[in-house]
Amino acid sequence: MAIRKRFSPLPGFGLSLGYTIFYLSVIVLIPLSAVGAKTIGMGWEAFWAAASNPRVVASYELSFGASLLAAAINVVFGLIFAWVLVRYRFPGKGLVDALVDLPFALPTAVAGIALATIYAENGPIGSLLKPHGIEVAYNPNGVLLALVFIGLPFVVRTVQPVLADLEKEVEEAAAGLGASRWQTFVKVILPHVTPALLTGFAMAFARAVGEYGSVIFIAGNVPMVSEITPLMIITKLEQYDYAGATAVASVMLIFSFILLLVINALQGWMQNRYSKGA
């Protein structure tokens, strides 16, 4: 019997998949493999020397530490933001909703300069914090602040629709069964939004790791203290040390990739747990 050609009712599978792979290759994979190729070309010792330089290692710590912390802070406040935007009606809600996206739209350098001006010792907020011994600008705190700023919309925008999707009735049911507000939050609402929070966390983190423009203005860029990894890469590029730059970049890429993979897996596992067969 002849094998019959199978037709799928969904149109354009071949075309769209082909296009996806082509696109992914041109936009993502080929540039990234160039990084890999350049790194491999430099040899192990040169690579290790460039990647494990103490100043570079300090920048890894700052970049990844501040990015993780910033993403974590954004998870907490992004959830509150999303909660307010979904649950309550208040005058100016539309404006607040639009303002959330501003960090997406603003050129990052503008954001960086604005933050640096405001939080500097003589700036409007910095001068208020100074007497309390809090210094934000030109040290790692500044890096954290800038990363929190650019990451916020990621969490808000991923959690918002999921929270809106949670019926009011589910919370009423919990209250009717005797749960306190806190129990309802912890046992009902939080598990519902956790996968979305993880996605938001991953996105805010990924963005923060690669962020350059808004950070360098407020970081102060003190070697060993407030230099971020992207700055190290730029510095190396400016010195025409292309191999060194790609070495640092590839370390950063591998770290980020592993972290994102773990978060994705965690999220997939959670989602799987309760939407089997849905």
Binding site: E172, A175, G178, S180, K187, P191, K276
Partner: protein
């Protein structure tokens, strides 16, 4: 536990959802709040539960004023139309939820929880689904789990908001029979909201018929069906034929025809008579005595009863249900002229505003 609803009023903006409603629900009864959508029945149920607060009036549970008590302290079980199950929990954990959130000193031991949840799942006949998630269940199963979850905290009152509204016809029928059996087993005072008159008639001990934020009639299913207190009740429960005319000498005069309504009926210029489809005798057109002439338009003979559509002399349609056997004995077919004699006719003062559309 008995429920007393005293002078409850509720507005949503300019909309009068409930207007001075008072109802007494004795302990252990299964009561239906029946009415068209927008009549305030769900709002009333939510006010009893404490999910909504009334503008005026009080709710007494077992004689105690519960009006200011939070839903969590009223000890009522609430079942939602769309189940409102916790999606991230298994069926077992859903049912156990109410026990697990109890303050530590009232919380049963893990063993006790396991025992009680298992017993409840057996009660709703879904013990085999304990480890599944809600998304893996059918609508009917989800609603039974929602019921088990509500019963887990041993509520004194069970409130159900259109519990079968989202289910398909067959499951619906099964489930309402099952709910009746369950109620006969556990005897918890229950109130359920429905817009389906068949459901209310079949399941409940008593029916509260509501319309436009007020109570039209409270009574047992046969009371409200056979002795409707208002034209609205007569037309909302079951299908009905309307006759507009005037009452004089114990007859309702419809055009040139007169239908006997009994001597007790007060004479009035504008009256409306209600006759249910099965309350007609159908006779050949030339039969002696007075009757309403009609011409058969269509006969739908499915099951033991035949639905006959007739055209009245005044051009209106009439719906009549007679036994199929009678139909074949009379040898009636479409196009025949017949004489109709209502066996039972309820007459109300014509008050158009009170009529259901």
């Amino acid at each position: 536990m008995s429920i007393a609803i005293r002078n409850i009023s509720k507005h949503f903006g300019a909309f009068h959802a409930l207007d001075d409603v008072s109802i007494d629900i004795p302990s252990g009864e299964l009561v239906a709040l029946l009415g068209p959508s927008g009549c305030g029945k769900t709002t009333l149920l939510r006010i009893i539960a404490g999910l909504e607060s009334a503008d005026a009036g009080r709710i007494l549970l077992e004689g105690d004023d519960a009006s200011d008590r939070h839903v969590r302290d009223r000890n009522v079980g609430f079942v939602f139309q769309h189940y409102a199950l916790f999606r991230h929990m298994t069926v077992f954990e859903n049912v156990a939820f109410g026990l697990r959130v109890k303050p530590r000193k009232f919380r049963p031991s893990e063993n006790e929880i396991r025992k009680r949840v298992t017993r409840l799942l057996d009660l709703v006949q879904l013990g085999w689904l304990a480890d599944r998630y809600p998304s893996q269940l059918s609508g009917g199963q989800r609603q039974r789990i929602a019921l088990a979850r509500a019963l887990a905290v041993e509520p004194k009152v069970l409130l159900l908001d259109e519990p079968f509204g989202a289910l398909d016809a067959k499951v619906r029928k099964e489930l309402r029979r099952w709910l009746r059996q369950l109620h006969d087993e556990i005897h918890v005072t229950s109130v359920f909201v429905t817009h389906d008159q068949e459901e209310a008639l079949e399941v409940s001990d008593r029916i509260v018929v509501m319309n436009k934020g007020g109570v039209e009639q409270i009574g047992s299913p046969d009371q409200v069906y056979d002795h409707p207190a208002t034209p609205f009740v007569a037309s909302f429960l079951g299908s009905v034929n309307l006759f507009h005319g005037r009452v004089e000498d114990g007859h309702l005069h419809v055009g040139e025809h007169a239908l006997a309504v009994g001597a007790g009926q007060l004479a009035t210029e504008k009256a409306v008579g209600f006759v249910r489809p099965h309350e007609f005798d159908v006779l050949p057109a030339n039969a002696p005595g007075s009757g309403l002439p009609g011409k058969i338009l269509r006969v739908i003979a499915i099951g033991p009863l035949a639905q006959v559509e007739l055209l009245r002399p005044d051009g209106e349609l009439l719906e009549v249900a007679i036994l199929r056997d009678t139909l074949s004995v009379l040898g009636l077919r479409e196009g025949d002229e017949v004489s109709l004699r209502p066996r039972n006719i309820r007459v109300f003062q014509n008050d158009n505003e009170r009529l259901a559309a």
